[in-house]
Symmetry: C2
Subunit: 309 residues, 2 copies
């Protein structure tokens, strides 16, 4: 297992006794990031065995309460835990002011460095602050909802391809550390000035596993761009397709529309979430399977493991 | 059962998997009020079988996150439910501005009338808004914590004493509606001008059941005043008495101190809550029982029923 995706809250609009408000963990061996932080996410994370001390980032799609209301409590609990390590918090412009308003009212006390990234426009790469060593690469991109909303791409870095050490040595690379340089940088210059490139000696790079998280949104080019070639696209599916008009009116998607996005993006798997309490999630997934072959209806606490085949 | 008190969250500072963040319901047959609204209170209320449509008021003691963080989500869910009836929300000055900041950021949308009562100074009676018919009488009074904090008294109204109808008729009251007037108002004037008072005809008034809710606070006169003669005093007991100095430093109480408040107030029963995750709640209650005879350590979801003996 290289990446474990754990839906922590899969309900739309409000938490229910069966599905929490929006939250999803993407976990690697060394750390994890939280996508959205609906009410109760801190407890769902603990229930799933995730350690808050290993949380690297909270990526908030938009400021609607069912995606944000768990954040103040999560930050408070991590402060009580004595966290000192920085935490990255990304979200649409305005998230900083909202956290400040909570702090001014005495509602929020954060005792560790908060690296706030406020998104606008086209988003882009989200950079880690100094002192926060995380295994993930992050990117944000705009979605299409009633309010400014950003989806995220969470990926492990690409890894260099396999080095044929025997062939490299035969080609003149001295046994030793230069082999690694050749593998990682693609070329070396020997003492006499001769250049050896990795061509024919190092296999193709191994793309890092990636997850795209796209809610809340209507089907949109931004979701397709974030999901392009992702191993797993997490897309909202608030309604069954019979209510596509209602979904559009409320700036949401149906499961079928989510599958169309996944198919267009060439995503390996599709994880549907953000189900209206009024839908049957399995039925939403079933009708979407006509469009994309590998679809899972998210359930709170049931992980999806990603490995490189 | 005339009043049912249901602890919905009994942990201090943060929710845990065993105890939610601060919240407690006081329920009568026709409606209920919520004292504090920590994260997760809306789900704990549903789990306890309480209907959000019958919620009359949310009484927030102070704005620390573990007493407030569940409020935006609760209001959001009631809006999605289509509530139209007003809701009373009381809390220390600043609670209105905080809710406005959440609304401005798009995080909170409330679709029903919110009757906000911002408390300062000595508190006092909390009046119901027009259109909100509730069985309770409410009073707020100041506590002593690190930030402005108010406790509450939630009571059913006093009921007139028993009318000895036979004796009243013998004394000249015409059989019929005047008997009820005599009972409820204590005197009637007959057609000829003669006044009959209830003395000797109507027994002593039956005091309405009452609950005082006093957290977070050090032991203080305000808590004693709110708890005076209450059927149940709900008082915080963050630490065991061996850590009284720490409790004082953090503006909290020990169970023993809570029992001293209950004894001084002459409260019938004491319900201890707001336990630090580091204490054994039953042990905190045990050592307090040397000071007050009727003490319960609150457990999430376990109700305490009050009846008039």
């Amino acid at each position: 297992m290289l990446l474990r995706v754990i839906p922590l809250g899969t309900s739309a609009g409000r938490p229910t006794l069966l599905r929490g408000a929006s939250a999803l963990a993407v976990a690697a061996e060394r750390g994890w990031v939280l996508c959205d932080c609906g009410e109760g996410a801190q407890l769902s994370a603990q229930r799933a065995g995730l350690s808050l001390s290993r949380l690297d980032a909270v990526l908030v799609t938009h400021l609607h309460g069912d995606h944000f209301n768990g954040l103040p409590g999560l930050l408070g609990t991590m402060s009580l835990d004595g966290r000192e390590r920085p935490l990255l918090v990304a979200g649409p412009a305005g998230i900083g002011g909202l956290l400040e308003a909570l702090a001014r009212a005495g509602s929020l006390g954060v005792s560790f460095p908060l690296a706030l990234v406020e998104l606008s426009g086209e988003g882009g790469a989200v950079r880690w602050p100094d002192g926060l060593d995380s295994p993930f690469e992050l990117r944000a991109g705009p979605l299409a909802h009633r309010v400014p909303t950003f989806g995220y791409r969470v990926a492990l870095p690409d890894r260099p391809g396999h080095l044929d050490a025997e062939a490299a040595i035969a080609a003149g690379v001295p046994a030793g550390p230069l082999l690694r340089v050749l593998k990682e940088e693609g070329r070396i210059t020997l003492e006499g000035g001769r250049v050896i490139t990795s061509e024919g000696l190092v296999g193709p790079a191994q793309r890092g596993l990636s997850v795209a998280y796209t809610l809340d949104t209507v089907p949109c080019p931004g979701a397709v761009a974030l999901g392009r070639g992702a191993d797993l696209l997490v897309h909202e599916a608030t309604y069954e397709h019979a209510r596509a008009a209602l979904a559009r009116q409320r700036s949401h998607s149906t499961g079928v529309e989510a599958a169309q996005v996944a198919a267009e993006a060439g995503a390996g798997q599709l994880l549907l979430t953000h189900f209206s309490p009024s839908v049957d999630a399995e039925a939403v997934a079933d009708e979407a399977r006509a469009v994309h072959g590998r679809i899972i209806a998210a359930q709170d606490g049931v992980p999806v493991d990603l490995t490189r085949s």
